[in-house]
Amino acid sequence: LQLRSTEDYNYANYHTLNEINSFIDMLVQENPGFVSKIVIGKSYEGRPLNVLKFSTGANRPGLWIDTGIHSREWVTQASGTWFAKKIVTDYRRDAELTDILNKYDIFLEIVTNPDGFQFTHTTNRMWRKTRKPNSGSSCIGVDPNRNWDAGFGGAGASSTPCSETYRGPSANSEPEVKAIVDFVKSHGKIKAFVSIHSYSQMLLYPYGYTQTPCKDQAELHELARKAVTALSSLYNTQYRFGSIINTIYQASGGTIDWTYNQGIKYSYTFELRDTGRYGFILPANQIIPTAQETWLALMAIMKHTKDNPY
């Protein structure tokens, strides 16, 4: 099936990597001057790391959203696709989003771990890591959410290559992580960073690697409350929120601990909807409700970032 337009794309279905990449190209083609595709690097297996950029002007600060760094969390990549379409649909129609886009660029990486995602579609639906071999081990891959340079190697990550939470041989050893690190550093003006996972219904802020509260904890907590309230207003989905270490567990080398330490105050990570029956095999009919409710929380975070420049 050839995708002729992003109107033809079935947002209520799961899609392969090729289909998502076709969607990305189509969205860019349909929205010249507004949407562009940036390739921030290549995965271990050589796949492009595609980031959609939504921009209405030059030299804007940026808001970053990534989905699906853990490959088996399919509802996150599917939600990311829906977000992309939502942004182009609502720009100039929704006053709040338009105001955000008149001041900030939005960067959206829909498939953060393409090798892993491809692997879940072809070989092992339950794969969550990258696909880089580990020297001296028959086990493949690194947990890309333990590979960042924030408390790297500390408690809450494994040093064993066969573990699902293997941190890797060194911080940023995974090209999928390093590409984002390089992009964030070179951009220099990312003001909010939201990394989206599934599942267990949580909105979390730093830190994961230490019990020491981050200096903006009070503000991040209140914003999390506001975002979760907005999310729940649609389908009454109940979320927990708080710091990673206090809400779930100690985790070192995590994405948003690094982004926060880089000076990105509004650093959050989501765990999307959990029906309590399917885990990572959330039925496709849950994609749109999940994306819709998450979008409300994302809007709350982006609006707060816009209204509270730093």
């Binding site: 099936l1 079935n10 209520a12 279905n13 799961y14 899609h15 072809t122 070989t123 092992n124 639906r125 339950m126 066969c162 699902e164 267990s200 779930i248 567990y249 309590g276 029956r277 399917y278 885990g279 990572f280 095999i281 039925p283 496709a284």
Partner: protein
């Protein structure tokens, strides 16, 4: 292609810290091949674990012996994956 015939996903509800610690011990038994979808952390959070068919008896016996409550969240993971695949193909058609 790796398949998951007979794998079950159990949703375990720990009642106290002692049971959480027992589940942590269980997670360290590498030979069981368990895949914790949600780790044992706190009694306020459920623990979801994918159990390969060959380890089901051991895990259930462990949970039963320690009187740790669980429900079967997914009866056969491969059935659900097959259903997901059917839905994807149907939708494309």
């Amino acid at each position: 292609k790796e398949t998951f015939e007979g794998h079950q996903v159990l949703r375990i509800t720990a009642l106290n810290e002692a049971q959480i610690n027992l589940l942590k011990e269980l997670s360290e038994n590498e030979h069981l091949g368990l895949d914790f979808w949600m780790d044992p952390v706190d009694v306020s959070l459920p623990v979801d674990v994918r159990v390969p068919f060959n380890s089901l008896q051991d895990v259930r016996a462990f949970l039963g012996y320690h009187e740790i409550h669980y429900e079967i969240m997914i009866q056969d993971l491969q059935d659900l994956i097959n259903e997901e695949q059917r839905e994807i193909l149907q939708s494309k058609a």
